[in-house]
């Protein structure tokens, strides 16, 4: 059984069918891309898997354990880390605090430690800080550690989100358009970072992306979603040559150029 297995997931918003009979299997270390036109339901699929919405039908298994119906913080702690399409950062917190916060589920000192500043708390907070610096080095934001996130350039904010997601020690990392709004230089840096962390941590990554160049380069397998249904799935090469995909998605691009 793959690391993350989704079978026949269907979701309705009222009468509107947002996702239909969606299937996915991700193995450790695999990068899978999800593409599709705007409004196809890509982010909805993310939200369904990470527990923000409950799927109407279907099952989601992480390491053989059914996670449908769990609260989203439990799903996150079980090993599904994510970033958001439009940055969801905490505006009054520093970069370091962001990444330490993602260690929440690893904290064992409890309220006694929080109230009385015990030895155990000091040790755990120090460990969280060490881990945070390690991750910040990895994505290249260690120099911003003490700064408020809102004062950071956009590309750095994206990397904060990435480091924060990594701090939860995910087994599968969900990236929702990690390069949205980035300039070409930032885009190349981001791809490099994704490659590095994939290699270093042997992460499974599930990626939503609009920039096809990036998806084609990074992903082993690509799914194409249109109106909540997968119309094609395969290697980048197969997807590029699939007539359905070209019609629904790539076709527009070729017409423009």
């Amino acid at each position: 059984m793959p690391l993350l297995q989704i079978t026949n997931m269907t979701h309705y918003f009222g009468g509107l069918r947002a996702v239909h009979e969606y299937n996915l299997g991700i193995d450790p270390g695999q990068i899978i891309g999800l593409i599709g036109p705007n409004g196809a339901g890509k982010t909805t699929i993310f939200n369904l898997i990470t527990g923000i919405y409950q799927p109407t039908e279907g099952t989601i298994h992480l390491e053989g354990r059914n996670i449908v119906g769990l609260q989203s913080h439990r799903i996150a702690a079980a090993g599904l880390g994510r970033t958001f399409q439009n940055l969801c950062l905490w505006r009054h917190m520093t970069v370091l605090e962001h990444i330490k916060m993602a260690r929440y589920s690893r904290i064992t000192y409890g309220l006694i430690g929080a109230f009385f500043c015990t030895m155990k708390r000091q040790m755990e907070e120090a460990a969280a800080e060490e881990k945070a610096f390690e991750l910040m080095e990895m994505v290249g934001i260690a120099q911003f550690a003490g700064q408020m996130v809102l004062n950071l350039p956009y590309g750095a904010q994206r990397r904060v989100e990435l480091a924060r997601a990594l701090a939860t020690e995910p087994k599968v990392l969900f990236l929702d358009e990690p390069t949205a709004g980035m300039n070409p230089e930032e885009l190349i840096q981001m791809m490099e970072i994704i490659r590095i962390m994939h290699k270093k941590l042997n992460l499974a990554i599930f990626l939503i992306e609009h920039r096809l160049k990036m998806v084609m380069e990074l992903c082993e397998r690509i799914q194409t979603l249109v109106f909540g249904e997968i119309i094609a799935e395969g290697t980048p090469c197969q997807i590029q040559n699939n007539p359905k995909v070209i019609e629904a998605y790539l076709g527009k691009e070729t017409m423009e150029t």
Partner: protein, 430 residues
């Protein structure tokens, strides 16, 4: 004058011009030395200086009351203020800065808790001697310390967690009545509850238990709000908590067994200055510890983006409920102390007026900041007392100040600043 020292300390980064020169490189302990000298000076010279300046009596609250009542006395009061407080405090603080820096470093090297204890002892000694001058001062001081507890605990909900709770006086009432009933039943002969059940000698030792019971009762009350209101988001908490405040108030008014609208009196005199001081210190220390831990910072995460907090493994529901109960607990303890300072409580005390006061202190001082709560509570409390001679005008001036603060600093005077004990106590470099 302690207020002076604190406020100057609180704004080390951008005090302007001369002020900056004066306070730069002066550690906290120097200010305490200065304040101690001022207090001793007042003890020794206060009476004769008062006579010399033809003031009616020693100016109790830094001369404000005298100045406002009899404008002709302003020069005398100002001279008194300069000679007893401002000159000695600044002078001694400057002069001892070098040796105090050395001392602060030494103390810090032994242990941070040791250093904190020394500072607190000094602070207590100053409070003790300052409040020795008159019973009025003592009362103001105690009520100010209690206001700090209240403000800080409300800041946990309204500032750190970013919800809007209106039930703090209700929690305070629960704590006040629970603690009062505990001490009155056990240790006082009272017409409502009859003879004392335990010997009075045990009283002061069991008083903390009474306060903690008060806090727990308040926390249980908070649970009653938290369970229904935290299922939804937004303004619901404000409405539900306001309703809770009125429920508590009318419940107490209708419970004849605890005195009904007439109130409950004959609390034993347990809330002396050391007790109130220690509880305040404990409250500030514990709340500060909490909001600086990852578990406490989770409140900020929930406030700024709950969805992201959830996705980062934060148990948002638990975080909110724990913080709410925690804040209510301290409001209950503060209420218990309040009841024993005044040695009388009635339900009318815990109404909208009180709510407005506490909210004003939180928003005036600054959201999401321990400094802010201390500054807000101290300044509004002292201001309220100092402007008392203006009678009606007081209620125009204080709200006006609040409006100005809200216009120019919408989150309060000192918002979003961490209270780092190590930084406060450590020596200051030039």
């Amino acid at each position: 004058m302690e207020l002076n020292a604190r406020e100057l300390q609180a704004e080390p980064e951008k005090p302007r011009g001369k002020l900056r020169k004066l306070i730069k490189g002066v550690p906290l302990i120097s200010w305490l030395f200065g304040a101690a000298v001022a207090v001793v000076l007042e003890h020794v010279l206060g009476d004769s200086l008062t006579e010399l300046l033809r003031l009616p009596k020693i100016p109790v609250l830094f001369g404000f009351v005298i100045m406002l009542k009899k404008p002709l006395m302003i020069p005398g009061a100002v001279v008194y203020l300069m000679l007893i407080y401002i000159v000695p405090i600044i002078g001694v603080a400057r002069l001892t800065a070098r040796i105090a820096n050395w001392l602060a470093g030494k103390l810090m090297n032994i242990h941070i808790l040791f250093s904190a204890a020394i500072h607190l002892c000094l602070l207590y000694a100053i409070f003790h001697h300052w409040s020795d001058i008159s019973a009025y001062r003592l009362l103001i001081l105690k009520l100010t310390l209690i206001a700090i507890m209240l403000t800080l605990s409300l800041n946990v909900i309204n500032g750190y967690m970013g919800e809007f709770s209106c039930s703090h006086p209700g929690f305070m009432a629960l704590g006040a009545y629970a603690a009062s009933v505990f001490t009155v039943v056990l240790f006082a002969d009272d017409k409502l509850f009859g003879k004392a059940l335990l010997p009075a000698a045990l009283g002061p030792w069991l008083f903390p238990v009474g306060l903690i019971i008060g806090g727990i009762v308040a926390a249980l009350g908070a649970l009653a709000i938290a369970v229904p209101s935290f299922r939804t988001r937004g303004d619901y908490l404000a409405i539900i908590s306001l309703a809770f405040l009125f429920i508590v108030k009318s419940m107490i008014e209708n419970l004849e067994i605890i005195g009904g609208p007439r109130g409950l009196s004959s609390q034993p005199d347990y809330a002396n200055l050391p007790t109130v001081f220690l509880w305040t210190v404990a409250c500030v220390w514990i709340i500060n510890n909490f909001v600086r831990s990852i578990l406490g910072k989770a409140l900020n995460a929930v406030r700024d983006d709950e969805l992201a907090a959830d996705a980062m493994t934060v148990n948002t529901r638990r975080t909110k409920i724990v913080a709410f109960l925690f804040a209510a607990f301290w409001a209950g303890v503060a209420g218990g102390l309040f009841a024993h300072v005044l040695r009388y409580v009635n339900p009318a005390t815990f109404g909208l007026q009180k709510l407005a006061e506490v909210l004003a202190m939180v928003y005036f001082g600054g959201l999401n900041s321990v400094y802010g709560s201390i500054v807000g509570a101290v300044s509004l409390n002292l201001l309220g007392e100092a402007l008392r001679p203006l009678e009606l005008w007081k209620w125009i001036i204080i709200p006006l100040m609040l409006i100005l603060v809200m216009i120019f600093r919408p989150t309060g005077l000192i918002a979003f600043r961490e209270f780092d004990v190590r930084e406060v106590l450590s020596p200051k470099q030039k």
